[in-house]
Symmetry: C2
Subunit: 349 residues, 2 copies
């Protein structure tokens, strides 16, 4: 692990779509954001909708008739891959806070091992939205010349203080919950209150104030009993219900580890010299997309990535999307995102 | 009280600067934001700096050589005025959550009673930043024809869902703290953890991501022992230290009551017809200021106030300040604010 320690045993849950061609030259790797698993799109084995269903599939912008697409659950996550709630073979119990400190670099390196295992020496396209955008840059930095093209969406080269502040407060909410017990929670007693607050705070940074104004206004809620300090307006019941859907399906320790990995990430390793960090990437082209209403990964961060790659000789398409959907736009504003991604993939040979 | 119930006894802590003239026509009322007390500026009785020291005083933009300036600690607050931690005369104990539901309208009405007591029938200028901007509009609505001019800064006519979401989560943090005890905390055992989180979240919405990027970058902190999940970056220690300074000096119940009062505020009472709500204000002029980086009271809300007053016949100056300081700009970006406020006051005969 980059920050010290090692994992004696690593499992990565992954899914693939399409067929690897004869010279293994049509592989697309999709790095995920903080919370999704490997199920990015439906398949014969699992026909349920994936988290990026409109984007990946036969005839879709990331066209599985042409590409062999791979998506893995990130190392450290809780959707099948090794993470803090996996069993520590040395003790027979869950790692929890004994899990080694996780970094984005470790996520990229573990994905590289997966691709080696699949016989893929060189990726056609690296795809990364949000945290996946960080992982993509780390991949370019660690494995020069092993990716031809990159689609980078709402990512960044290094976490900024506002995003760190948000994530730090999310962790504080979880770790302040008396059921956190320094990671010694159980399936019955776990830090639900802290997780709920962390998720609500997340949602406040994933979407935009403008969207909520139009969607909820000042309407009253009737989903829950009315309360004086909460559960009066629709925005309050919306956040409650949406948080409760999420938190039952995500492990608190995984959340903490992945959250901190994003804070620590700086592809320049403190030098602030992005050109130096990416100079050997060997990328031929890149499509870099940001969203003007994104407060968590502001569009200036994607512009910086686009500028650096351009200076290094890649052909770069850069888009600052005027979407009202904020950081999550790539998951909801498909009217804007599908044509742009389709256009980029169509240009690749 | 607007939402029901009554207070048997009300005390307002207030300060004044300058002298009321012979016909009581030079009075300026300053409504505060959520947390400040009545000490807006230094005086002979209290020479310590006030919360708006550069703005109010002899020869300053709000010139106490010309105006009689009044500032009160808001009803419901904890800096001398009656609030949830005042004694309930019926029980001899602090009101806490037995305090009646508080509204911005009550704050405006109690200030009106104070002005009556001071012999002021008509204000020369109504001044209100942040929550004080809400109170100013409520004052215009409740007491038509009793103010000639208004300086409104980073306020709004009705809370939007994003701001409600932020405040709702702040209250959730406080009320989830097991030391909150439904308001039955003590001076020794009080919801410090929840208050700290609430304050940190507040700070995230009072300033701007851009300011923090330039001020803190990714620098490491050395003020506290390093922690894995927190206290690693300077932004984290800054928020911790600044929160701890605040929370020791503000009562949790007051915080909750004032916070909810802001959520409930809608000067149109649900009709969304701002012109109707303000039509009898009788304002001659207004200066309405917003800040482009304000995420809590976005500048479109100040524009809406300016537009309505303009349609109603007032002469309106509207400024969308390109400050990087966010909602708190009026407290820190004096280079921009002092000249604009001075200019406005100089124009008033």
């Amino acid at each position: 692990m980059k920050r010290g320690g090692e994992l004696p045993d690593v499992r990565l849950a992954y899914e693939t779509w399409g067929k690897l061609n004869a010279d293994n030259s049509n592989a697309v790797m999709v790095f995920t954001g903080l919370s999704p698993g490997a199920h990015a799109a439906s398949s014969e084995l699992d026909p349920s909708d994936g988290w990026w269903e409109p984007m990946i599939g036969p005839g879709k912008p990331i066209d599985t008739d042409r590409y062999f697409v791979v998506c893995a659950n990130s190392l450290g996550s809780c959707r099948g891959s090794t993470g803090p709630s996996s069993e520590n073979p040395a003790t027979g119990k869950a790692w929890r806070t004994e899990f080694p400190e996780l970094s984005i670099e470790d996520i990229a390196a573990s994905s590289h091992a997966l691709l080696q295992h699949l016989g893929i020496e060189r990726l056609k396209v690296l795809v990364g939205p949000s945290m996946g955008g960080m992982t993509s840059l780390s991949y370019l930095n660690q494995f020069p010349g092993q990716a031809e093209h990159m689609l980078s969406i709402s990512g960044c080269a290094a976490a900024e203080p506002y995003a760190i502040a948000v994530r730090s407060l999310q962790r504080e909410a979880i770790c302040s919950d008396r059921l956190w017990k320094d990671g010694n929670y159980t399936d019955e007693k776990w830090p639900q209150t802290g997780m709920r607050m962390a998720r609500k705070l997340g949602m406040m940074t994933y979407r935009s104030a403008f969207e909520w104004k139009n969607r909820f206004g000042r309407e009253r809620q009737d989903r829950y009993p009315q309360q004086t300090w909460g559960m009066y307006f629709q925005i309050e019941s919306y956040l409650q219900a949406a948080s409760d859907r999420f938190i039952g399906a995500f492990d608190p320790a995984s959340y903490i580890y992945l959250s901190r990995a994003m804070d620590w990430f700086d592809v320049t390793d403190g030098s602030a010299d992005l050109d130096e960090a990416l100079k050997n990437s060997g990328l031929q082209t890149a499509c870099v997309i940001g969203v003007e209403t994104d407060v968590l990964f502001p569009v200036r961060q994607q512009a910086a990535i686009a500028d650096a790659l351009s200076r290094l000789g890649a052909m770069v398409d850069f888009y600052a999307m005027p979407s009202h959907e904020g950081h999550d736009a790539f998951l909801v504003d498909y009217d804007r995102f599908l044509p742009v991604v389709a256009d980029y993939f169509n240009k690749l040979d």
